[in-house]
Amino acid sequence: MVIGEEFPSVLRAAQRGDGAALERIYSASAPRVLGFLRSQGISDHEDVAGEVFVSIVRDLPRFTGDEDAFRGWVFTIAQRRLVDERRRRGRRPEEPFEQGDLVRAVGSGPTVESEALERLRTSGLLDAIARLTPDQRAVLYLRAVEDLSVPEISRVLEKPESAVKALLRRASAAMSRQMAAQGGED
């Protein structure tokens, strides 16, 4: 969802606390934030998303930029709340989680989403993603699903671009191995 040309005026109104503008901001950002949190296996991703949007509203008056910049800024806040949530739970970022966590995080959606999830599951891709480390999974998701560039991902994750590229390589290689292994098992 994109606000488009109206983004500057919507942003100014939202910065003043206008309710309608905040709703438009939320409608455009919530699916991406929730998707990112789901992909990271956060079961209570809706609660974390609520914290993310509260943080967005509080910092909104200080934001300057266009809609693309705003999208990256929202992911940055989501990533930080995600890190906070992991710390609160005591889970180490390097620790992969089981496929069940990811399936539960994705949950049961409408028919189209359920069918897509079923395809991912049967192809073994969902299990391969679940075996990635959180950083690898975040890089992969932002790159493949959100179509962010390496510099943009490095901003979101606050890591050097070289680290983002390395994470991307390892994630892709790990998924290939997983998919090959699953194919061999089948």
Binding site: R16, G19, R38, L60, G72, A144, L168, R169, M175
Partner: protein, 313 residues
């Protein structure tokens, strides 16, 4: 919302520029449509090694599975939290600003007047206090002493001389003119000052002698009086009738102080002290027509000058 979030706020201004620079085809939305190649990742990272074919083919399913809007109840809850956290900023900032300006302008006059009055009082008290203590710099102290004198305050000048005492000192010059002979006579009134009751007549008597002696030199005494202390010479210049009278012009206190103003010639022990004690005594003498003799005592230096000029005359 932590400080980390605020730190990243301004960092996203580069976002649009970087995207415009990297993405050559904004219409492309999927990895399979060549987004990776267009964004330069394949060249950098070795192409397919970044994202395997399975993942690229699965991108639509990934989006469909993960990217979904929130449920209505969840969305309502989020929006309520957002509106609670939203800063309450009026749409028109002008009223608040204008109120602030008006509010600041109205008390400004009162504040300025109060500040000015306070500064004036503090300055006057401070300068006056320092002036009374004689702690001001020389020129300032003189000015303050002059002002204080006009106001009837005894504020010492830069030399530590109180104006009231200074007036007593000045006549010393004129007596100094009269010189040596009256100086001897000056001693007598000075001694007589010690006993005022007796002092009234003997100075007159004594003054008779100096008056005679000064009848001639009294004129010459007037000239040096000008060069000396104007206040002291005034009577002599104006031909002040009292000055011609022996008792006055011969006012032994005037002449005698001149002599007494020359402490080396007369009685240094009595008049040698130019300062405080003699003028006090002279104040008593002045009332008896002899007091100015004491004035000459404190004006020794000036008396000496007057004496020299008197000799010239």
């Amino acid at each position: 919302m932590g400080p980390d979030d605020r730190r990243g706020t301004s960092e996203w201004s580069w976002w649009a520029a970087s995207r415009r620079r990297v993405v050559s085809n904004p219409e492309s939305t999927s990895m399979s449509e060549g987004v990776s190649e267009e964004r330069g990742l394949l060249e950098v990272e070795g192409g397919v090694a970044e994202l395997n074919d399975e993942l690229r083919d699965a991108v639509p399913d990934l989006r469909a599975a993960f990217v979904r809007p929130a449920a209505p109840d969840i969305a309502a809850e989020h929006l309520a939290r957002m509106k609670d956290a939203a800063p309450v900023v009026p749409f028109t900032a002008a009223p608040a600003l204008s109120r602030r300006r008006v509010g600041a302008a109205e008390p400004s006059w009162a504040r300025r007047a109060l500040v000015a009055a306070s500064a004036l009082v503090v300055g006057a008290v401070g300068v006056g206090g320092l002036g009374m203590a004689g702690a001001l710099p020389g020129p300032v102290q003189d000015t303050v002493a002059d002002i204080g004198e006009r106001l009837g305050l005894d504020i010492p000048d830069s030399h530590g001389v109180v104006p009231g005492d200074e007036g007593d000192d000045t006549p010393a010059e004129a007596p100094g003119v009269t010189g040596e002979t009256p100086g001897q006579q000056g001693e007598t009134p000075g001694q007589l000052d010690q006993t005022p009751a007796n002092g009234a007549e003997p100075p007159g008597q004594v003054g008779a002698t100096p008056g005679q002696s000064e009848s001639t030199p009294g004129q010459s005494g007037s000239a040096p009086g000008q060069s000396g202390n104007p206040a002291a010479t005034a009577p002599a210049q104006s031909g002040d009738p009292s000055a011609t009278a022996p008792g006055q012009s011969g006012n032994p206190s005037e002449t005698a102080p001149g002599s007494s103003g020359n402490p080396s010639e007369t009685a240094p022990g009595q008049f040698g002290d130019p300062g405080a004690t003699a003028p006090v005594e002279s104040g008593t003498q002045g009332q008896g027509g002899q007091g100015q003799g004491g004035q000459g005592q404190s004006g020794q230096g000036q008396g000496n000058q007057g004496q020299g000029q008197g000799n010239q005359g």
